[in-house]
Symmetry: C2
Subunit: 198 residues, 2 copies
Amino acid sequence: MRLLEEKINTDGKVLSENVLKVDSFLNHQIDPQLMLEIGKEFARIFAGEGITKIVTIESSGIAPAVMAGLYMNVPVIFARKRKSLTLVDDLLTASVHSFTKNETNEISISKKYVNENDRVLIIDDFLANGEAALGLVDIVQKSRATVVGIGIVIEKSFQHGAQKLKDLGLRVESLARIASLSNGKVSFINENVEELIK
Amino acid sequence: MRLLEEKINTDGKVLSENVLKVDSFLNHQIDPQLMLEIGKEFARIFAGEGITKIVTIESSGIAPAVMAGLYMNVPVIFARKRKSLTLVDDLLTASVHSFTKNETNEISISKKYVNENDRVLIIDDFLANGEAALGLVDIVQKSRATVVGIGIVIEKSFQHGAQKLKDLGLRVESLARIASLSNGKVSFINENVEELIK
């Protein structure tokens, strides 16, 4: 998505070979107009998939997910993160390890809102090692709903999350795919060039 | 806001005299169309105030705040909640006690995104004792920005948060104001009747 790549180029900050900071428009400060365009793009990509629910995770997934829900006219459920959960009967849970924060959280959604008749699109802001997305897939599959696909705002393609999800047979669509953060510079995977050299 | 009151009546659950559960459209599952209408209403109410930023708090404030930001064409910053924060120089912080969860969190925003030239609208999903809103006011005032007002989706008017904020001279605008949750029933403060009997 060109608009998003431009925004990353102008406002993103490369902190290391692994870390891209985008807290000026996605993770802390949010650009609502950009989120609307992102939601529209997810709706375009997953049109015709018969999606009935979007599942995301607090907090940075909420804005893009709600905008996608607006265009797709479906409810959005955000999974909650807790250090530990007292066992509650009506929750579906999974453990998610964050390598960035070096902590493991329990994530959960209520059984009430996703069931076997649902076709679910999972949306998240970042895809790196895939821990959060795999946790969301786990929860949705526990509800017996169908995971139609995973929509990601920014994929760090030099890490292994996308491949892990694809290995499970899942459709992964990322709006910006980063090939490398070397030398303080963001290099995107250029889809057009990839098509040409196939 | 009539649409919101109707939604609370049909989908809200009164769990006790103090607790209204709205996790089917606001706190866990989110209704994007309703959030859009809520954002539009905040934009209408605060039109002409010269607002430059919206500040909210994760996670349930994000959806209504982003929709308001969309209509008002301003960025949204969401404060993060942590149990404890390692001291970081570029953060503005406040302590917020949650009576519901009986825990105190540190909330914070980055200094980068709010400054003395900003006119800030604070948005949150619920107003009860006012702890979260007061914490947000504290943070925004520490940045030397002007707090233009506080926009609340659901105010529990039988608790003291709104009054505390008004006592500070702040403008509080709540889209639904609940007079009581007694007998398992939601009673709203009827603005029209209030006008009539003035």
